[in-house]
């Protein structure tokens, strides 16, 4: 399935006040405003993007960032190809939360999940509380890319998503290639749906994992 129609799942994490939703709306609706208005959604968005020569459908899964929903968040991680961890450059507490999410993601999705740490509200230079060096350090420590953006002006938004999509696609290609290799080496009768499920749609998770943990 995924050969012709490539789709990527991107999970969006960030506390309520960091502006993650505005970020997505900016990204998804700035270009094809007319066309998109009808399907515009606050929580779920998808966008067709071109990565290299490929058409990719990017599904962006917004998650509720409130503390009270922390326990159920892992339900959204399942099969994620990438995660965008958004924090507020004017609020250093929101960066702290990012670290916790990364640990959780890597445990549940796999260490090779594509991560992007995004510092939002770059336009509020005067109120800035997190030095670039610090957030860059946090991102580097967890193997994530780092982008600073402004959902208000749109600065850096496209680049953050495009970069994430590019790396997530590369990861998916790697995995598909590995799956192909595995299938080729398996006996011809075996590769059934079950095999595909383990290798393709359950990427990064143990084969027995059915219900995400709480």
């Amino acid at each position: 399935m995924s050969r012709n129609r490539t789709s990527l799942k991107l999970v969006l994490l960030g506390e309520g006040r960091v502006g993650k939703t505005s970020l997505v709306l900016k990204y998804c609706h700035s270009q094809f405003a007319e066309e998109q208005r009808a399907t515009e959604q606050a929580a779920f968005n998808s966008k067709q993007v071109t990565v290299g020569e490929r058409q990719v459908e990017l599904s962006i899964w917004d998650t509720a960032g409130q503390e009270r929903f922390h326990a159920i968040q892992p339900l959204y991680y399942r099969d994620a190809d990438a995660a965008l961890l958004v924090f507020d450059l004017t609020d250093s507490d929101t960066l702290e939360r990012v670290r916790a999410w990364v640990t959780e993601l890597q445990t549940l999705v796999g260490a090779d999940v594509v991560l992007t740490v995004v510092g939002n509200k770059a336009d509020l230079a005067a109120a800035r509380a997190v030095p670039a060096a610090e957030s860059r350090g946090v991102a580097a420590a967890v193997g994530a890319a780092y982008h600073e953006v402004s959902a208000l002006t749109g600065a850096g938004v496209e680049a953050a998503f495009a970069d994430t999509a590019r790396r997530a696609l590369a990861r998916q290609q790697r995995r598909l290639a590995a799956a192909d290799a595995a299938q080729l080496s398996a006996s011809p009768g075996v590769p059934s749906w079950a095999g595909g499920r383990d290798t393709v749609s359950f990427t990064g998770q143990g084969p027995t994992r059915r219900r995400p943990c709480c």
Binding site: A43, S59, A64, F69, I72, Y76, R210, C213, C214
Partner: protein, 774 residues
């Protein structure tokens, strides 16, 4: 599938009609045949959600391909081919719906728990979830509720999913208002509104519906938007399931008061749980446990009338009484009983809803429908209860305790009874020992030839329990829990075992008098679990166990045991290689706390019978009691090697001994190896413990290994994910988190444990929580 979704939606009905039409064409006969034969599989088999899901998914995926190649469909446009598979899914799932929807025990329990909780949460207002005023649109909410309610009007997974999507769309439209106002907060707003809607919609069988969709909706179509909103609903349900004082924007006390007012929270003295308690005890139709309690009186009467042994000729039999020739009769009786038990308890459970099963499940882990193990988990606690508290200490997991209890009961050598004579009189003697010389000797030694003291004792307890009121039962429970809690957990701690010939008993293990039902059952077991699993204190040195056990033996019991020891010693004096005497003497000495003597006798036994796993296990326990940890571990390993797969109690013993011997790493390796084996075993063909049981043991072992609390937490987390209704893992997690200073998280776990624990286990749970400093 994003854009054609709308189109597909519009032509859905047409497409299904068209699908049926096309399938009526003669050329489609082979397709129809294959579909029908596939459906037949489900008519004949017992449901198994995971297996069924894999079967259906596999079939649909294959059919998708087959349809594309098939003359009937190959000429159709691609869109129609896609619809054809949708048609197939709908047709197929509608046909087998009654066999697979809502049949899972676990799902049904969750349905019930969710229903209760949603009903209790009816007081929730938007402000409790911080839902902005902006969305206060009563009409839209009612519409969303209505859409969600439709989920039970449909059978096809896709149709159910559409109901969810429609409900979510209504909410999305609400959120547009915020987008327009430039205050979009996306999922931050969506999820609380959805939760609010779900609570007030309170759709019946929500968990079953969610699991059904997840299992049977074609995997390839469960993507993008559908997957997202499905996950939103799943999350909302999970939130409601695990709701606690921190979940809502309201005062904790008020929350508790509200939940209590909403009903379901008993007026009992324990700290009020945040949620209505699990339903089983209040189930309108009594569960298995209640009926067992009622039936106990009948058993007592039957016994008094001398009828019990006529119906069940082995109830008075002691292990040495049995001869090889008895095995077939015993096995036949066992099988008949197992079937009858399963039939009756199944019927009771079906009527009681999930109620009865939940108790069983709580007592013995997941209820297995298999003949043998089903009996095991069902009866498991009985032995433990009738002979509590001494036995229950050593019991670990459900299946085990029944065996242990039986073993313990039989460790005491019982010889001839009054009934024996009676039996002979009515011609039922054949199962009695033939060796009259041996019998005579025993009679002489015992001095009170008529008394089957052990059995009598159990009956006494049974009588007492029958007479007791529920309050008394609760008090007894508390007493039991207390004594259990005061002692060291499972560990290398020895449990004196039966002195018995091998195979006979392992087959009919739970079959002694101990099987008689007793009210206190699930709780005693529960107490044991808690104990076995929650101890995180590390060093569970086995010595105190033996000492305490010695103290706890009643004088009469001790006298009895001493008599037995004397009897066996006499036999050994006559014939040093008498294996049964070695075994019986070893077990009795161990029960008396004479570990060195027990070790000696049992060492001789293992030398004489090196392939006897039971003997090795006994020896391991004796060595453990003598603080010979390395020796104990070695003996457990021999026991394990002598079995096709180590039993859970052997593994527990081994792990406990290794941990006590400061080799936790080795213990973990052993359990992991066993887990790998269990995982690789074919379905239903796993001779050893289940992966769930092994994980429970693994987690406990990690917990006892310093600096490995994180590993323990992880494993417990996995267990919770696997069986979200098993309070033990929550409790253990809570203790670990608490000792790590994560008070809030610990509290959360404790709330879950308290909520999920059957009422009978609550005193123990509360105690553990209190001991953890909460």
């Amino acid at each position: 599938m994003a854009d054609p979704e709308a189109l597909e939606e519009a032509s859905k009905a047409l497409s299904f009609a068209e699908f049926l039409e096309r399938m009526k064409e003669p050329a489609a006969a082979d397709l129809v045949r294959s579909i029908k034969s596939f459906i037949k599989i489900f008519e004949e088999r017992k449901p198994d959600p995971d297996r069924d899901s894999a079967l259906v998914q596999n079939f649909l995926a294959k059919s998708e391909y087959t349809f594309r190649q098939h003359p009937v469909w190959s000429s159709a446009p691609a869109a129609h081919q896609a619809q054809a598979v949708e048609g197939l899914e709908k047709y197929l799932m509608t046909k087998i719906y009654h066999k697979i929807f809502g049949v899972s025990e676990l799902d049904r329990e969750r349905d019930e728990a969710l229903s209760l909780r949603m009903a209790a949460l009816n007081f929730i207002q938007p402000k409790h979830l911080d839902i902005p005023e902006l969305y206060s649109d009563e009409k839209a909410w009612q519409l969303a509720i209505k859409e969600l309610h439709k989920i039970n009007n449909y059978k096809a997974p896709r149709d159910k999913l559409v109901c969810i999507l429609n409900c979510c769309r209504v909410i999305n439209n609400l959120l547009h208002a915020a987008v327009a106002a430039g205050e979009a907060r996306g999922a931050d707003d969506f999820l609380p509104v959805l939760i609010f809607v779900v609570v007030h919609a309170a759709p019946p069988q929500l968990a079953s519906n969610l699991e059904y969709i997840q299992r049977f909706r074609m995997q390839s179509r469960m993507a993008s938007e559908s997957a997202y909103f499905f996950t939103q609903l799943y999350s909302a349900a999970s939130f409601i399931e695990t709701i606690n004082t921190n979940s809502l924007s309201m005062d904790a006390d008020e929350f508790i008061a509200r939940m209590v007012t909403a009903g379901g929270v008993p007026a009992g003295g324990f700290p009020p749980p945040l949620h209505p308690p699990p339903p089983p005890p209040q189930a309108p139709f009594p569960g298995v446990a209640e009926l067992e309690r009622e039936g106990a009186a009948a058993v007592v009467a039957l016994e008094a009338a001398g009828q019990l042994h006529r119906r069940h000729r082995f109830v008075y039999a002691a292990a040495p009484d049995l001869r090889v020739a008895d095995v077939s009769a015993l096995l036949a009786a066992y099988k008949e009983l197992a079937l009858r038990y399963e039939a009756l308890s199944g019927a009771v459970t079906a009527r009681a809803g999930a109620g009865g099963e939940r108790q069983l499940a709580a007592a013995g882990g997941p209820v297995t429908p298999l003949l043998g193990s089903g009996l095991g988990s069902g009866l498991s606690g009985m032995g433990a209860a009738t002979s509590a508290p001494v036995e229950s200490r050593s019991a670990g997991f459900g299946k085990l305790s029944e065996k242990k209890a039986a073993k313990r009961g039989k460790a005491a050598q019982k010889q001839q009874k009054q009934q024996n004579t009676a039996d002979k009189a009515i011609g039922q003697a054949p199962h009695r020992p033939v060796d009259e010389r041996y019998v005579a000797k025993q009679l002489e030694l015992e001095g009170q030839p008529d008394a089957d003291t052990e059995f009598q004792k159990r009956l006494e307890r049974l009588r007492a329990a029958t007479a007791a009121t529920s309050e008394a039962a609760a008090a007894a429970d508390a007493a039991v829990s207390t004594s259990i809690l005061d002692r060291a957990p499972m560990s290398a701690g020895p449990a004196p075992r039966r002195a018995a010939p091998d195979n006979v008993e392992s087959e009919g293990g739970g079959f002694g008098p101990g099987q008689i039902a007793l009210a206190a059952l699930p709780l005693v077991l529960a107490a044991v679990f808690v104990l076995a699993d929650v101890d995180v204190g590390g060093g569970s040195a086995p010595q105190p166990t033996a000492a305490q056990q010695k103290r706890q033996l009643a004088d009469a019991e001790r006298a009895e045991l001493q008599k037995q020891v004397a009897g066996f010693e006499a036999r050994l004096a006559a014939e040093a290689g008498d294996r049964e005497a070695l075994r019986g003497g070893g077990a009795a000495a161990l029960a008396l706390g004479d570990a060195p003597r027990a070790s000696e006798l049992l060492t001789r036994l293992t030398e004489a019978a090196p392939g006897d796993a039971e003997a090795w296990q006994l020896l391991a326990e004796a060595r453990g009691a003598a603080a010979d940890l390395k020796g104990a571990a070695a003996a457990y390993e021999r026991a394990s090697a002598a079995l096709p797969a180590p039993t859970l109690d052997v593994l527990q013993g081994l792990a406990g001994a290794l941990v006590a011997d400061a080799q936790p790493q080795r213990a973990v390796e052993v359990i992991k190896a066993e887990r790998g084996r269990a995982e690789a075993s074919p379905e239903n063909g796993n001779p050893g413990p289940t992966t769930y049981e092994l994980d429970m043991l693994l987690a406990k072992t990690y917990a006892q290994w310093s600096n490995h609390a994180a590993d323990a937490l992880k494993v417990y987390g996995g267990l919770i994910a696997q069986a979200p209704n098993d309070y033990r893992a929550y409790l253990a997690r809570g203790v670990l988190l608490g000792s790590d200073g994560q008070k809030a998280d610990a509290q959360r776990m404790f709330l879950q444990a308290r909520f999920l624990a059957p009422p009978t286990a609550r005193p123990v749970v509360d105690r553990v929580i209190a001991n953890a400093g909460f």
